[in-house]
Symmetry: C2
Subunit: 360 residues, 2 copies
C-alpha cells in the first residue's frame, strides 16, 4: 500500500516521540512491502516562532493533501503564564481539528497485564480493564464564542451543540459498542446543563436503532469517580469534548502512564492520529519521553487503513518491550537508562526480525 503521511511533531516532546513512530512505520513499510512517504509540517509553538501563527496555511495544505496525519504534541510553558497572549500554540491543534472536521476522538484505555503494578490503583481493581472513549472533538466549549470584556474584568465561553454534531459521533460509539461488550455509557451533566440535556435526548432517541446495546447515563462528576472505583463496568464511553478530555486523561492512571495512551481523530474525509499526552516541556530532549503513545497512534493509523497484521505486529512488539522492561523511566523500575529512542529501536528490531525476537 502507498500512504503519504503528514507528520506534525509540534512542541515539547512531540518531535522526539513522533520520530520513534516514524521509525516504526518505516520498519513496517520495509517488512510488509508498503510505500510510506512522510511530509513534515509546523504547528503550535514551533509554528508561532517561525510564522506568527499556530497553524500555517502550508501545514494545513500538507495535511489536506496527505492520506492521513500523525500528530505529536502541543503547548509551551511560557504561554501558561501569559493569559493575555493572543496567539497560542493550542489554537493550532484546535483549528486543525476544526478545519479537517475531525469530530470523533477515539481513545482506548486498556490495562496491560505487565504494567498493573505501575498503576496507583490496586491490581484487582483494574485488571482486564478495556474501555474505549468516544470524545466529541469539533464542538462544545472549545469552539463556542469566547469573550473578554473591554475592561478585562469579565470573560465567557459558550458550550454549544447541535443534534447533528451529537448524532454523528453517537452512531460511531453505538457501532463500536455493538462490536464489543454492547454497553454504551453517555457522560454528561444533564441535571444542570442545557447542552447535556440535548445530548441525553438525542442519545435516547437513537437508542432504539441499536437494540442490542445497553445504554446508561452518568453525570460527569459521578463518572470521574466511577472510572476509578470500578473501571471494568465501562465498555464504550461517549461524551462531549471537554468531559472527554478530562476523563481520558484521568483514565491514564489505570494504564500506568499517560505515555501509553493513543488516539484516533476521525472525520468524514480526514483522519489524524495523536497521543493523548501533551508537550510535557520539562522532559524535552532528555531522552525520557515515552514514545509508546505515539507508536500506538501509528498503530491505530495502520488499523484505520486495514493494515491489521502490521498493526498487530507493532502491538506484539510493544507488549514484548513492556515484558522485558525496555521502557522509559516513567514505567521502568528495573533499568534506569532506557531512552526514548532505545524503545523505538527495540520495536523497530522486533519488526525487522519478528521470528527471532519472538523467541526471546
Amino acid at each position: 500500500m502507498k500512504l503519504h503521511i503528514a507528520v506534525l511533531p509540534g512542541d515539547g516532546i512531540g518531535p522526539e516521540v513522533t520520530s520513534q513512530a516514524v521509525k516504526v512505520l518505516k520498519a513496517i513499510a520495509m517488512e510488509f512491502g508498503h510505500i510510506f512517504t512522510f511530509e513534515y509540517g509546523l504547528i503550535g509553538g514551533a509554528a508561532i516562532k517561525k510564522s506568527g501563527t499556530a497553524l500555517p496555511e502550508e501545514t494545513l495544505s500538507i495535511c489536506k493533501k496527505a492520506d492521513t496525519i500523525l500528530f505529536g504534541a502541543i503547548g509551551e510553558p511560557k504561554y501558561n503564564f501569559d493569559p493575555d497572549a493572543k496567539v497560542r500554540p493550542e489554537q493550532g491543534l484546535l483549528k486543525l481539528r476544526k478545519e479537517l472536521d475531525l469530530f470523533a476522538n477515539i481513545r482506548p484505555v486498556i490495562a496491560y497485564e505487565d504494567l498493573l503494578n505501575h498503576s496507583p490503583l490496586k491490581n484487582k481493581c483494574i485488571k482486564d480493564t478495556d474501555i474505549i472513549i468516544y470524545r466529541e472533538l469539533s464542538a462544545g466549549i472549545y469552539y463556542g464564542d469566547k469573550t473578554l470584556s473591554e475592561d478585562g474584568q469579565s470573560a465567557s465561553d459558550v458550550c454549544q451543540y447541535n443534534r447533528f454534531e451529537i448524532e454523528r459521533i453517537a452512531h460511531l460509539a453505538f457501532k463500536a459498542a455493538q462490536s464489543r461488550q454492547r454497553k454504551l455509557t453517555l457522560v454528561d451533566k444533564a441535571n444542570v446543563l442545557a447542552s447535556s440535556r440535548l445530548w441525553r435526548k438525542v442519545i435516547m432517541e437513537m437508542a432504539p436503532q441499536y437494540p442490542n446495546v445497553t445504554l446508561d447515563f452518568y453525570y460527569i462528576d459521578n463518572a470521574a469517580m466511577q472510572l476509578i472505583l470500578n473501571p471494568r463496568q465501562f465498555d464504550v464511553i461517549l461524551t462531549e469534548n471537554m468531559f472527554g478530555d478530562i476523563l481520558s486523561e484521568e483514565a491514564s492512571v489505570i494504564v500506568g502512564s499517560i505515555g501509553l495512551l493513543a488516539s484516533a481523530s476521525l472525520g468524514p474525509k480526514y483522519a489524524m492520529f495523536e497521543p493523548i499526552h501533551g508537550a510535557y516541556s520539562k522532559a524535552t530532549d532528555k531522552g525520557i519521553a515515552n514514545p509508546i503513545a505515539s507508536i500506538l497512534s501509528a498503530t491505530m493509523l495502520l488499523d484505520h487503513f486495514g493494515l491489521l497484521d502490521e498493526a498487530s505486529l507493532i502491538r506484539k512488539a510493544i507488549k514484548k518491550s513492556l515484558k522485558l522492561h525496555i521502557t522509559t523511566p516513567d514505567l521502568n523500575t528495573k533499568y534506569d537508562n532506557i531512552s526514548t529512542s532505545k524503545v523505538g529501536d527495540f520495536i523497530e528490531d522486533f519488526i525487522n526480525h519478528p521470528e527471532e525476537t519472538n523467541l526471546n
Copy 2:
C-alpha cells in the same frame, strides 16, 4: 450558644442521613448546654411534588431567618430520563446557592488511616492525604445563559466569570493555604477557555499579596490525573464551579467512600453545610446510606460557629466508629447489618458518654 438551624433534607437518602446529623447535633447541644432549634423546609423533588417548584418561597425564608442551614441531597431518577422537564429538583439547590450568595464551597478530602484499605488506590499512594478543595459555587456554567433552540435542535450554556467572583473565593483559598501547607493549586483550562484565562490572570495578580504561598497551575485534564497519581502533592485546590464538582467527587475515591465527604458553602451572610454526595435514590429507605458525610457537615457547621470542642468530639466519635467497624455497608467488611441509624446512635452515645466510650 443558641442556634436556629434550617434543615433541608431534600430527596433520596437526604432525609435519612440528615436525621442522623440532627440527632448528633441534639446530643451535642445536650452535652455542652447549647440550645439548638431546627426548622424544616422542602426542596428539590420533594418540593416539586408538594408545590410545583424546587425551591418554595417558604423554604427560602426559613433559610434566611435561620442562623445556618443543614442540607441533605437532591435529585430524582425520573428526571434523569426526562431531558425536557422544565422544573427539575437541582434547580432548588442551584437557586438556593444563588439567592444566599453561597460562593465558596469548601470540600476537605482527608484519608482516614482506618479506611485506607477501602480505597481502590494503593495505601502508599494515599496515606496522609489532606487536601481542601475551594470550589466556586455561585457562577460559571451552572448559572450562565442556557438556550434550547425553538426547533429543539441546538442547545447552549454559557460559562461566565468576572473578577470579583474569582477574587472573593481566591482570598479564602489563599488564606486557607497560609494556615496549612502554604500551597495553592489553581485548576483551570486556560489553554482553551477565556474564562479560565481570566481566573489565571486574577490569581497571578493576587499572588504577591500572599508571598508565603506557593502557587501552581494545572489544567483540569492533568489535575484529574494528578489527583489519583499523587494526591499528596496537593494542599489547597482552587477552581471554578464545574471543575470543582468533578474533582471533588473524583477525590472521594481517596477517602474510600463518597459517603464520607462533607462540605461548607459560605457566603457573605449565610452558610450552608452539605454532603457532597447526591440523593442516591436506589438506596433510599434501605438503611444503608452512610450518614457520616451529613454528620461531618454538621461538624463543619459547629466549626463555623467556633464550637471547636464540640466539633472535635464528633470527629473523635466518627473515628471511633470507623475503628470499631460501626459503619454502613459501603465501608464495612466485617459486619453486614450496621444501618444508617445505628451509626448515628453510636455517635450519639459516644457524645453522651465520652469518657466511657473512649475506654472502648
